[in-house]
Amino acid sequence: MTSNKTNNVISLHAVKKRYGNETVVSDVSFDIQSGECVVLVGHNGAGKTTLMKLMLGLTRPSSGEVNVLGANPAVSSAIAQHKTLGYLPESVAFYEAMTGREVLAFYARLKEASTVDCDNLLDVVGLAHAAKRRVGTYSKGMRQRLGLAQAMLGNPQLLFLDEPTTGLDPILRQQFYQLIDALHKEGATSVISSHALNEVEARANRFIIMKAGNMIASGTLDELYQLAALPVRLKVSVTPGQTANVAERLGSATNISEINDQVLNLTCINGEKMPLIRRITELGEVVNDLQIMPPKLDEVYSHFMNNHRTDGGQP
């Protein structure tokens, strides 16, 4: 089943998953290549967690094929590969009676990772002071940090992180992403689910947008911008009192969304951006400033969410 030439670490083909009558994932296909950082985006209940469980072999698809590291993850012979895999579930649960250190050591032994790692990791996630306390006494944020630590055990080559930064303070988020970056530099592949888009924007190679079990878009940030074809906004500041004059000189084809004494807000589609900028610069000294504002990721996201109607019809 391995196809090394394409270097696919994960490949899903026409995957469907039904629980009873409810279709949770319908007809999803994608490939993830070695070293990629792919973000699954979607509302709660869009099928992100189910996709992760399918890739982890915790559930089996109702139809279609799931292939992870060259094998079907749901068969027991694939389980040896889990040594190079890290997973952080959406709401992580631990054995409450054990201390943080013991929990981590237990998981390290299962992964045959060195237990020296444990102390380092506890330090990195800022739990060194609580290492000898029972997990039962941990706060939500501390559990999440312990969850991250266990996912990082044994330098995983493949990471599945289900909403990894919920409950983490901003500083810890930063540290967390630094950890992920470090793993990526060593060639790790990661699949992250999130609805905090701006946060993962800089790190993701690719986004997969899910809605009600369907994959409605997939691509790099640039590709998504093009797919969405959202207007670019330009803010032109001119000499006070000259806005009407400027508007006239730009021509009636120009889409002016707002105008006041010194500022014109223009919108245009991506393809017309450069000609418009040229025309603005040709206006001469009357233009004081020009700001170009590409659509925000959130806008792209809501564009896909609002414009794609699926059979499920979930808002």
Binding site: A80, V92, F106, L110
Partner: protein
Amino acid sequence: MKMLWILATKELRDGLRNRWIAAAIIVLGTLALALSLLGSAPTGTVKASAMDISVISLASLSVYLIPLIALMLSFDALVGEFERGTMMLLLTYPVKRWQVIMGKFLGHVLILFIAIFAGYGGAMLILTFVNGASLDGWQAYVSMMANSLLLGAVFIALGYLVSVLVKERATAAGTAIGLWLVFVVLYDLLLFGLLLVDEGQVIGQQLFSMLMLISPTDTYRILNLSMFDGVSQAAGIAGIASEAGLSGTLLISVLLLWIAAPLAATLLVFQKREL
């Protein structure tokens, strides 16, 4: 094997941590000592040794107590981890599902081993100091402890089956209690009632032996009371088991089957389970 050991020692540590093992040792030890010291008084001039009497009374006690302890240990083992969500994370580690079951089983049997051998064994040592003991008495006592462990293992396995089949912990607890009632109380009552009604017309010795063998608790009883001459004489059932064709090997095989079958069923259900 290493995986099994890692999982087993986790259970063992849990048992030590929540004082489970300590409590079981104290309960078993105190009851064994009380029964033995009180029970050895009325032997008087009868030839039965105090140790043999202890085996008889402890075997009768264990039939109730050991299954209860074993079920308390096991009913939560799987459903609890499903409910809390720890199973999901565990299964993303390089652990196979059969290893999860067998690792837990090994751990729980170890807990029971410690409880029985420390509790009953401790009482045995005290008895030896007080009354003295023969080699035969010791052998009967030690094999009674080993049989108790087997009986416990049967109910650990049964507890897992309950634990993997039900959806909630509360249901598992209720079902476990039901299981205990059936095997420890109701089945024997039913059998007894049947014998009274039948008056020996249909149920011959063969059929009766079969009916006894169906229940792991009855099998355990026969195993303890009939395998050592001193014990069976004191219990007043000398030679009955061998007449009925119930050898020690057969009885132990029945118990082993009672361990293997629920474990296999648990594994089968668990393999199919989606998380």
